[in-house]
């Protein structure tokens, strides 16, 4: 792709981007959110048309006018957001739109479809029944189906947009194996990721975008993570995890014997004021379930939860909010925000009673309170009337945080607080966590990113299969210790 320009009303999304990918190469595409990675890939996929610039495949200029055209040219894309039909089975999803024909016209060769789907999934290290509907699968498994679907197209160029975001270590190993296999077959892979460790372990070269421009392309062997961050952010980040320990107060949250018949087994722990406690563990180990039980989003079967010493009796998010709990969910767009509403409406949603009189919202108090938090949290938005769907991931996350600060939460539960957020904004979120802890707010953080857990938490609780299997202090914890506890066996370094 040479000199690609794409503009949207009011925004120049791509400003002469050049990207060159060799056959059989794994090429990382990096950059902060909003740098233009997704736009560039959508042009390659035929979803958008470039305003100018050329795309050459095997040296020949091509015109990609539609996604169908892209598929014909051998371009396959695995989007971050899944394009799966939940009601259909794994096999039906993989072969959607190009089902193998049966003997009679219009008939479906189901046996063949299922056989081939099984083979594709087995190649990814999964021996799941391909007749299972996709809606029954975990997010990680859905990701595997998406990958199987893209590889089944026999693409020559395969784009993977943050394929690893939801995968566990074991599944990631399988993905790497598949990538190496595709590479050996001469397939070019464009790998979009925020994670340094992945980029360095699997990619041959790295191209960095910033503000719609190409910053540069480097062989992985000749570049360091620090240099990459500098290229992406345009400045040096002194410290990725600017942890400032705060003095601890009394417990704001005490959980004892929390049990759900499905998963959690007698979980007990506490979080003190000013303390950041991290829940670590594999996906499916019960971390998110604990958070949702505490917040009242899901039911639990036995156990007691106390907030600031008071037992939480009534069930449901409303009573949790009243006692001073705020919950920043993992799925920001699906559960944290109402995308079509403004920054103002989203920020004030949980605190409306305190901003109103007799059921009427006092609009001046609302504007004042929201503006104050928007400024305080450094939300970058043209104004508080901006719809939150137009903000970047980091700024959206700040709006969700603002919502819980406006209710004067004493305990914040942050589920994957920096997922899908670029490097610069991550540091801002970490700094905010420090400030909140210093104000005496207790924070319970769930994170799959071990560096983040080690960097920010005062105390780390490790979960495995619905049990708390270990508690580590900030001083003693290492990646290996957490990993061993989470998996249950000593891990040998990969």
């Amino acid at each position: 792709m040479e000199g690609v320009v794409k503009s949207f009303p009011g925004v120049l999304a791509l400003d002469g981007v050049t990207l060159e990918v060799l056959p059989g190469e794994v090429h990382a595409l990096m950059g902060e959110n909003g740098a233009g990675k997704s736009t560039l890939m959508k042009i390659l996929a035929g979803a958008y048309q470039a305003d100018s610039g050329t795309i050459l495949i095997d040296g020949k200029p091509v015109h990609i006018s539609s996604p169908r055209e892209a598929t014909k040219l051998g371009i396959g894309i695995i989007y971050q957001e899944f394009n799966l039909v939940p009601q259909l089975s794994i096999a039906e999803n993989i072969f959607l739109g190009r089902e193998p024909r049966g003997v009679l016209p219009g008939w479906l060769d189901e046996a063949r479809m299922e056989r081939e789907a099984s083979a594709l999934m087995a190649n990814l290290g999964s021996n799941v029944d391909v007749r299972t509907p996709v809606s029954k699968l975990s997010v990680a498994m859905q990701q595997m189906v998406e990958i199987a679907k893209a590889t089944s197209h026999k693409s020559r160029i395969l784009v993977m947009d943050e394929p690893s975001a939801t995968l566990t270590k074991h599944e990631l190993e399988n993905l790497y194996r598949l990538i190496r296999q595709l590479k050996a077959e001469g397939v070019s892979i464009i790998y979009i990721s925020h994670r340094m460790d992945e980029v360095f372990s699997i990619c041959d070269r790295i191209t960095v975008l910033r503000d719609g421009k190409t910053v540069g392309t480097r062989p992985t062997s000749e570049v360091t993570p620090d240099e990459l961050i500098r290229m992406m952010v345009g400045r040096t980040l002194e410290d990725n995890f600017p942890k400032v320990p705060a003095p601890f107060g009394d417990p704001v949250l005490e959980v004892s014997g929390l049990t759900t018949h499905g998963l959690l087994k007698s979980i007990s722990f506490n979080v003190r004021a000013g303390e950041i406690v991290a829940l670590a563990g594999l996906i499916g180990s019960g971390r998110t379930e604990i958070a949702r039980c505490i917040f009242g989003a899901d039911r639990y079967d036995s156990g007691e939860i106390r907030v600031q010493g008071q037992p939480l009796i009534a069930h449901g998010p409303r009573s949790a909010i009243k006692t001073g709990i705020g919950f920043v969910p993992e799925d920001r767009k699906g559960q944290g925000l109402i995308l079509d509403l403004s920054v103002r409406e989203n920020t004030s949603l949980a605190a409306l009673p305190s901003l109103s009189r007799g059921g009427f919202v006092r609009r001046s108090s609302e504007r004042k309170a929201v503006s104050e938090y928007v400024q305080n949290l450094g939300v970058r938005t043209p104004g508080i009337e901006q719809k939150v769907k137009n903000l970047s991931g980091g700024n959206q996350q700040k709006v969700v945080l603002g919502k819980w600060l406006l209710t004067r939460s004493k305990l914040l539960i942050l589920d994957e607080p920096t997922r899908g957020i670029d490097v610069g904004a991550k540091v801002e979120i970490y700094q905010l966590m420090n400030r909140l802890a210093a104000q005496g707010i207790g924070i319970l953080m769930i994170s799959s990113e071990l560096p983040e857990v080690l960097g920010m938490a005062d105390r780390i609780l490790v979960m495995r299969e619905g049990r708390l299997v270990g508690e580590l202090s900030r001083e003693e914890a290492t990646q290996e210790m957490i990993g061993e506890l989470a998996v249950g066996v000593p891990v040998h370094e990969a």
Partner: protein
């Protein structure tokens, strides 16, 4: 800060469309310029506007209410039976009129509440629930009356003179009376629109309606009592259909179990033409009222030009199609 161009949350396209239509008719049709024409325009649009206000609340939560047309039929029956009940009239005299209004509105609200309860607590689809109640409520109105309208009674009946006087002369004030040059039904519709607008844009409840329609799960996790909001919007829709039913009873001088068929579709059309999204999360009560006026103006314009009711249907359909198309195009442009 950039302020968006808007008039009570109505998107400018809807407003320009309305102004353009009125100007066009004004210029081309002499009979449109008469006060009596304008009076009947407002009077006829008022019922649909009132129903559309309630429908707007439901549609903003991403629901739909198909039962309002049948509610009109049931409410007509309940209102007329209360007004014409010999015991009621003998005991309360003229105050039977107010009892009739209250009974009619309460009947509408009750059906709305039941709709909402099924949607909220039984977790059923609004389309299915209100499709079912549409049949049930219509059937109930027919069963109660044995299919016959409730109107003027035979002079041999007890209290016949007073009952007939109430129905034929006094009660008609709501549907056909005037306050100065203004039709009373239009005045009532105007008040409903203003109250609806305030409720939707200025209160916590209104904010929760938008939040529920925008993202129910995020709303729940932000402490919004989503079931209460669901029940409330359907109750409002039923209540306003009840009010419209009372006005219709007054206008028709009696309760007919079969009236109001297809009114749910007129109301949905007004809401959609007024710029409220059927996907929920955005919309405006004032827009729906203007939508109801637009539909009425077009019908009246065609009427004045001698085009039949048959043609009016085709044009109404085309307007809905164009309004939604325009909305979709604008949305895509904005990206």
């Amino acid at each position: 800060m950039k302020r968006k161009l808007s008039f009570f949350g109505v998107n400018p396209g809807v407003l320009f469309g309305f102004v353009f239509l009125v100007a066009l008719l004004f210029a081309t049709t002499p009979s449109f310029r008469q006060v009596s024409t304008l009076q009947s325009l407002f009077q006829q649009a008022s019922l649909n506007a009132i129903i559309a206000v309630g429908m707007t609340f439901v549609i903003i939560t991403a629901g739909i209410d198909l039962s309002v047309g049948s509610i009109l039929g049931l409410v007509g029956v309940v209102t007329a039976m209360t007004l014409m009940g010999p015991q009621v009239v003998s005991q309360f005299g003229e105050r039977a009129m107010f009892l009739a209004c209250i009974a009619g509105i309460a009947a509408g609200a009750l059906v709305g509440f039941l709709n909402g309860a099924a949607v909220a607590w039984l977790r059923m689809q609004p389309f299915i629930v209100t499709l079912a109640t549409m049949w049930i409520v219509r059937g109930a109105a027919l069963v109660i009356t044995d299919g016959a309208p409730i109107g003027v009674v035979d002079p041999s009946q007890p209290m016949a003179a007073m009952r007939n006087d109430l129905l034929q002369h006094k009660f008609t004030v709501f549907g056909m009376g005037y306050m100065g040059p203004l039709p009373i039904s239009a005045l009532i519709a105007f008040i409903v629109v203003i109250l609806g607008h305030i409720l939707l844009t200025r209160t916590i409840f209104g904010r929760h309606v938008f939040a529920l329609g925008g993202n129910a799960e995020a709303a729940r996790l932000s402490g919004v009592n989503v079931n209460k909001v669901r029940v409330s919007v359907f109750t409002i829709s039923g209540l306003l259909a009840g009010l419209a039913g009372v006005l219709l009873t007054s206008k028709l001088v009696g309760g007919q179990p079969t009236v109001g068929q297809g009114f749910e579709l007129y109301a949905i059309a007004a809401v959609v033409v007024g710029g409220t999204s059927l996907f929920g999360g955005s919309g405006s009560v004032v827009g729906s009222a203007i939508g109801a006026l637009i539909i009425q103006v077009i019908n009246m314009g065609l009427d004045l030009h001698g085009l039949s009711d048959f043609w009016q249907r085709i044009v109404t359909g085309a307007i809905i199609f164009l309004a939604v198309l325009l909305d979709e195009v604008l949305r895509r442009r904005k990206g």
